[in-house]
C-alpha cells in the first residue's frame, strides 16, 4: 500500500468535514475491500478516516415496526441475530453467505454496501478503464463472463454485494450523513446505474458522505423471505446470479412480493417483470416458469455471459416455488 495518514474521529458528526470532499480521503470500516484495493494500488487515498473509533455505530435495535442496524455492524452479527434470522431472513441469509467467516467477522454493513466492483479490469491497476477515468470499458469487447446482463452501459460491472438485493427487497431505508446533516432514502435509490456522465460511482454518496444506518420495516404477517446465491465455487465466491425474495403468501396465493437480483446488473436489480407475473396470483410451477421467462425478457447478455440469462430465469422460478414451500 502507499503511505497514508490515519484519523480516529470520536464523533460521527466530524466525519464529513474530515473527508474534505476531495476524493483523497476515504473512510475505513472493516477494510476487507478497501485494504485489498489499496494493496493493488487501485485506490491510493492519502488519508483514511477510521469509523471504528466512533462508538454506537454497530448496534442492532429491534422494535415493533422494524429493525435499525448501524453501518458498522459486522456481517457475522447480522447473520447470527436471531430476530433478523426469524423476521428478516433474506438479510440474515445474505449476510451469512458473504465471502468467508473471517471476512464476515470484520466486514460491515456499510462497507459491504459500498464495496467496489470485482470486475477484473477495474481491479487491474494498469488498465485505465472507463470507470477509472479512461476511454474504454474493456469488458464490452473483452472477457465478460461475470459481467452484467441488465442495466449495463457504458460500464458493465455487476454490483458484488449480497446484502444489497436483500435490503432492497425488504424495502429498507438508508440514512446518510453528509456535510449538511443526515438524510434518509430508500435503499433502492442509493444505488445508481452508470451513465456516460458518471460511469465512476455505484451509489449516490459524495466523497464526504457515509452511510450511518439502515432501517428495515417489519414485513407484514404471512411474509417469508430468503436469499438464493449461485456461485461457481462453493467456498468464498461472489454470486454468478443471486436473488432476494420477499413473499407475502396466503395459501399459495401471492399477495405481495419483492424479487431483487444480484450479480446481473450494476445495481441490485428489481425483477419487476417477474413481480408483475406473480403478484396477486396463485403460484404454480407453470406460473413460476412464466415469471422466470418474464424476468429475462429484456435481458441484454454480452458475448460471454448468456448463461446468466438461463441462471436468472431458473433462479426466479425457484424463488417463486420456494415462496410456496
Amino acid at each position: 500500500m502507499d503511505k497514508f495518514s490515519y484519523i480516529n474521529p470520536a464523533r460521527l458528526e466530524q466525519v464529513p468535514g474530515l473527508l474534505k470532499n476531495d476524493w483523497q480521503s476515504k473512510v475505513i470500516a472493516g477494510g476487507t475491500d478497501l485494504v485489498g484495493e489499496m494493496k493493488d494500488y487501485v485506490e491510493s487515498p492519502k488519508r483514511l478516516v477510521n469509523l471504528k473509533s466512533i462508538p454506537g455505530l454497530d448496534q442492532i435495535e429491534v422494535d415493533n415496526q422494524g429493525v435499525t442496524i448501524g453501518a458498522m455492524t459486522t456481517l457475522t452479527d447480522i447473520a447470527e441475530h436471531t430476530d433478523i434470522q426469524k423476521n428478516y431472513a433474506a438479510l440474515a441469509q445474505s449476510a451469512g453467505v458473504v465471502a468467508s467467516p473471517q471476512i464476515r467477522n470484520v466486514g460491515t454493513l456499510g462497507g459491504n454496501l459500498c464495496q467496489r466492483p470485482r470486475c477484473w479490469y477495474y481491479r487491474d491497476p494498469d488498465a485505465i478503464c472507463l470507470k477509472k477515468g479512461g476511454d474504454v470499458c474493456y469488458a464490452l469487447s473483452g472477457l465478460n463472463k461475470y459481467h452484467a446482463i441488465f442495466g449495463g452501459g457504458p460500464v458493465y460491472i455487476v454490483h458484488p454485494s449480497d446484502i444489497a438485493p436483500a435490503l432492497v427487497a425488504l424495502g429498507a431505508e438508508v440514512t446518510i450523513l453528509g456535510a449538511s446533516g443526515a438524510r434518509t432514502m430508500p435503499m433502492e435509490d442509493f444505488f445508481i446505474l452508470p451513465t456516460v456522465a458518471n460511469p465512476f460511482r455505484e451509489n449516490i454518496l459524495a466523497s464526504n458522505e457515509i452511510i450511518t444506518r439502515i432501517r428495515v420495516p417489519k414485513p407484514d404477517t404471512n411474509t417469508t423471505s430468503f436469499y438464493l446465491k449461485l456461485h461457481e465455487r462453493g467456498s468464498f465466491d461472489f454470486a454468478l446470479v443471486s436473488v432476494a425474495g420477499v413473499f407475502q403468501v396466503q395459501g399459495k396465493k401471492c399477495q405481495q412480493l419483492s424479487l431483487v437480483l444480484g450479480g446481473v446488473a450494476p445495481t441490485p436489480w428489481r425483477s419487476s417483470e417477474a413481480e408483475q407475473v406473480l403478484r396477486g396470483q396463485v403460484i404454480s410451477e407453470a406460473l413460476a416458469q412464466r415469471a422466470g421467462e418474464a424476468a429475462v425478457k429484456n435481458a441484454d447478455p454480452m458475448s460471454d455471459n448468456g448463461y446468466k440469462v438461463t441462471l436468472t430465469q431458473n433462479l426466479i422460478k425457484r424463488a417463486a416455488m420456494m415462496a410456496i414451500g
Partner: protein
C-alpha cells in the same frame, strides 16, 4: 541384494504412522523459507513488467536507489532487450522493510517501445498475428509418432469417434510462493530456499556465481508446496543472492501472490483433434491425433496419447504454440492429466457407440492386471451398477451419474542418493540424506524404514534432510521419484548400521554375531536382554555411522491407478456437485499408509480443480492475466470436497512412488460422470456452469 522382507509382517511398513513434522506444523514452530529472519536481513522485491510485449528503451533505477531504507537495486533486463510477457522481471530492490521495498519498485521508471502482443492460442496460430518468436505462425515443429498401419486400422473399425478435447492452463498455486533468503559470509553463500531440489539449487547458485559447490549451502527444512514448479533458483533466487552481495546483508526475496500465479509456472493447455476407431467386439484399432498447447514462449506443452489403452495403429502429431505469457513448468504428472482427460472421454464415447459397458471396453484394451483389479475394486466401492444405463436418462432437475478415469505413471526412482544412518552411544539415531520434504512425507518414510530395521519407533529416529551441508546428495523431488530413490539407500544404510552394532556387541561380549538379536526396542544376546539404550551405551566414545548403497532390488517403476466419480448435475444451473470419488492407486510397497492416503486425497483434489474450477485467463486487449489472485483463480475449497475414498492398493511390487499418478484420472472420471448424468458431453475443461448450460441448450 537387500530385500524388504515380508512387509505384512512388519509392524511399521504399510501401516498408519503420524507425520513426524506434525507437532511443529500445528504449533507454528515449523520455519519455512518465508519465515526465516536473519540478523540484518533486508526484504527483496521484484519490479515486473505490466506490458506483455515491448522493447525496453530506458530504465531509471535512481528513484529507488535514492529512497531512504533501500540498500541495493539491480536491473534484471538490459536496455534494448524485448519484454515478452506480463510479469517479466525488470529490476529488483532490497530494503529495510517489506513496505519500503514495495515503495521502491514503484518508484523505478522504465520506458519501452510497445510491440503487438498475442495471448490467445487461436489468434497466435492464425495468419497475420504478430510473430513473437522464430516459429512460423508461432507454432513449433510438429513431433510425429507413427505405428502400425492406420489405413488398415480404419478399415476394420465398426465405430469411429472424431472430436476435439481441450484443457486449460492450470497454475500450481503453491501456498508458499517461490523465494529465498540469501546470506553471504565472505565467499560462502547460504541460501534458505523454498525448493524441491536442494542439491540442484546449490549447483545452480554455484554455477551462476562461479563458486565451488562446497561454498554454497542450501537449506529447506520445510517448504510450502512445489508441485513441480520449484526446481531451481530462477531469476528471483539469483536476484536475492546478487542483492545480498551488493548490500552486504542477507536478503529475503519471496514472490508476491501475483508474481507467483503469473510467472512461476503452470500446466500448459491442450487442444487435440482426435479420431479413433474400435471394432464392435471392443478392440481399439485406430487412433489419430493432432494436438497442441501453449507453454508461453517455449516448448513444454504436450499430452499423452494414445494413453493407457493399447492401439496397434496410430499416428500422433504434437506441437507447441507460443504466446506472450509466463511459461509453463513441470506440474504434477506433466502431460498426463491433459492426455488422460481426453483418452478417458474418448474411451467412453467409443464404448457407447459400440454399445459396450465402459469398464468392459477398457479392460479389453488394457493389459495391466493391476489396473483391472483397481477397476473392479473401485467399481464395487462406488456402486458402478447404480449408474444410469442410458446417459441422461434420469428424471428430475438434478441428475446423477458415475464415471471412470484411469492413469499410469513410471516413477521407480534411480540411483544417486547418498544416505547415512548414525547410531550414537546415547541411543539416539540419525538418518541423514539430502532429499527434501514438500509435504510428501518422505521425512517420516525415512524414519519408518530405519525404525523398522532397528526395532525402534519412528519417533526415535532423528531425520535430517533438506540440507546440502552433510554432503549427502539426493535428486530433486519430481517424477514421483523421491521415495523409490531414497528408500533403498536409507534401508541399506540402516541395515549396515544394524550390522555394525551387532558386530560391535558380539565382539564386546565375545559371541557369534548371529547370537545378537535387535528387535522391538531391545537387544538379546544369548540369554541376556538389554534395552536399546543399554546396548548402545556400550559404544562409549564411538558412534556407528554407515552409508547406504543403491540397491535395484528395493524399488521398481510402474504405477497404475483408477478413479471413479459420482456427480449430481443441476440442469437448471449447470452446477456440478461431486457426491463421491473413489480413487484406487498402487505404488508398490507402501511405507506409510497414512501419508499415501493423504497423497491420494491431495491428487484427487488437484484433479477436481482441474476438472471443474481452475483456468488461467489471459486478456487480449491488455496482454495481461485477469486472475492472478486467489479469488478469481478458483482452487478447490472446503465446500468443493466430496466424500473421497482413498484406497492405497497393495501389490507385491517394490517401492514405486505415488505423488503424481494420483492426480491423473480425476478429470476424466468427472467428465464421464457428467456425461452419464446429463447425456451431453462437455469436451473442454474446466467444466463450469456456463459450459454445462450451453451444452444442454444445444442438445
Amino acid at each position: 541384494m537387500a530385500e524388504w522382507g515380508e512387509a505384512r509382517k512388519s509392524s511399521l511398513l504399510g501401516k498408519y504412522t503420524q507425520r513426524l513434522s506434525g507437532p511443529q506444523k500445528v504449533t507454528g514452530q515449523a520455519k519455512y523459507t518465508f519465515d526465516i529472519n536473519r540478523p540484518g536481513m533486508l526484504y527483496g522485491r521484484i519490479l515486473r513488467s505490466h506490458i506483455a510485449r515491448g522493447t525496453l528503451t530506458a530504465l531509471d533505477l535512481s528513484p529507488a536507489e535514492q529512497m531512504p531504507g533501500v540498500k541495493a537495486v539491480i536491473p534484471l533486463i538490459e536496455i534494448g532487450k524485448e519484454i515478452r510477457y506480463e510479469g517479466q522481471e525488470i529490476a529488483a530492490v532490497a530494503a529495510d522493510t517489506r513496505d519500503i521495498a514495495a515503495d521502491a519498485i514503484r518508484a523505478i521508471r522504465f520506458d519501452y517501445d510497445p510491440l503487438d502482443h498475442v495471448v490467445d492460442l487461436g489468434e497466435a496460430m492464425s495468419e497475420g498475428s504478430p510473430q513473437i518468436r522464430d516459429w512460423e505462425n508461432n507454432q513449433s515443429e510438429r513431433q510425429i509418432d507413427e505405428k502400425g498401419d492406420l489405413k488398415a486400422g480404419w478399415a476394420t473399425a465398426d465405430a469411429v469417434v472424431e472430436v476435439t478435447y481441450s484443457t486449460e492452463v492450470q497454475v500450481h498455486t503453491c501456498l508458499e510462493s517461490h523465494g529465498h533468503v540469501a546470506e553471504w559470509n565472505g565467499d560462502q553463500l547460504t541460501v534458505w530456499a523454498s525448493t524441491q531440489a536442494v542439491f540442484g539449487t546449490r549447483r545452480d547458485f554455484a554455477r551462476h556465481f562461479e563458486l565451488p559447490e562446497d561454498k554454497v549451502r542450501v537449506i529447506t527444512e520445510h517448504m510450502g508446496g512445489g508441485f513441480g514448479a520449484k526446481f531451481g533458483p530462477g531469476v528471483e533466487g539469483r536476484a536475492a543472492a546478487t542483492l545480498a552481495k551488493e548490500a552486504g546483508r542477507p536478503v529475503k526475496l519471496m514472490l508476491t501472490r501475483k508474481g507467483e500465479q503469473n510467472t512461476a509456472g503452470n500446466r500448459p493447455s491442450m487442444v487435440q483433434h482426435v479420431k479413433a476407431g474400435a471394432t464392435k467386439e471392443g478392440k481399439l484399432v485406430a487412433y489419430e491425433v493432432s494436438g497442441y498447447g501453449t507453454s508461453g514462449l517455449g516448448g513444454g506443452a504436450g499430452f499423452t496419447g494414445p494413453y493407457v489403452y493399447q492401439v496397434p495403429n496410430y499416428r500422433t502429431e504434437k506441437f507447441n504454440v507460443a504466446i506472450n505469457a509466463g511459461s509453463g513448468r513441470a506440474f504434477r504428472a506433466p502431460r498426463h492429466p491433459q492426455g488422460a482427460f481426453a483418452m478417458d472421454s474418448l474411451m467412453d464415447e467409443l464404448s457407447e457407440k459400440i454399445g459396450m459397458d465402459s469398464l468392459e471396453f477398457r479392460k479389453l484394451n488394457d493389459p495391466n492386471e493391476i489396473r483391472h483389479a483397481e477397476y473392479d475394486l473401485g467399481a464395487k466401492e462406488i456402486g458402478w451398477h447404480r449408474r444410469p444405463r442410458v446417459a441422461g436418462s434420469g428424471t428430475g432437475v438434478r441428475k446423477h451419474g458415475i464415471g471412470v478415469g484411469s492413469g499410469q505413471w513410471g516413477g521407480g526412482g534411480g540411483k544417486g542418493t547418498k544416505a547415512r544412518v548414525n547410531i550414537n552411544a546415547d541411543g539416539t539415531v540419525e538418518a541423514i540424506t539430502g532429499t527434501q520434504d514438500l509435504g510428501t512425507g518422505i521425512r517420516t518414510a525415512i524414519a519408518i524404514i530405519v525404525a523398522d530395521e532397528l526395532g525402534l519407533h519412528p519417533t526415535d529416529i532423528t531425520v535430517k534432510i533438506g540440507d546440502t551441508l552433510p554432503g549427502l546428495p539426493s535428486g530433486g523431488s519430481g517424477g514421483s521419484q523421491t521415495t523409490p530413490s531414497v528408500s533403498p539407500v536409507v534401508k541399506t544404510a540402516a541395515m549396515a548400521a544394524k550390522e555394525s552394532l551387532i558386530n560391535h556387541l558380539a565382539e564386546k561380549v565375545n559371541v557369534a554375531a548371529d547370537e545378537v538379536i535387535i528387535k522391538e526396542g531391545s537387544v538379546t544376546i544369548g540369554n541376556n536382554q538389554l534395552s536399546w539404550k543399554e546396548a548402545t551405551s556400550t559404544l562409549g566414545m564411538e558412534t556407528i555411522s554407515e552409508d547406504g548403497s543403491w540397491d535395484e532390488n528395493l524399488r521398481e517403476g510402474g504405477a497404475a491407478g483408477a478413479q471413479f466419480a459420482e456427480v449430481e448435475v443441476d440442469t437448471e444451473t449447470g452446477q456440478v456437485k461431486l457426491t463421491k470419488i473413489v480413487a484406487v492407486h498402487d505404488c508398490g510397497l507402501i511405507i506409510n499408509r497414512l501419508a499415501t492416503e493423504s497423497q491420494i486425497n491431495g491428487g484427487v483434489i488437484g484433479g477436481i480443480g482441474y476438472a471443474l474450477l481452475e483456468d488461467r485467463i489471459m486478456d487480449d486487449q491488455t496482454g495481461r492475466s485477469l486472475n492472478s489472485n486467489l479469488i478469481d483463480y478458483k482452487v478447490p475449497g472446503a465446500q468443493e470436497i466430496p466424500e473421497i475414498r482413498a484406497i492405497a492398493y497393495d501389490t507385491d511390487r517394490k517401492v514405486t512412488g505415488i505423488g503424481e499418478p494420483v492426480t491423473i484420472p480425476t478429470a476424466g472420471a468427472i467428465a464421464n460422470a457428467v456425461y452419464n448424468a446429463i447425456g451431453v458431453r462437455i469436451r473442454s475443461l474446466p467444466i463450469t456452469p456456463d459450459k454445462v448450460l450451453a451444452a444442454l441448450e444445444e442438445a
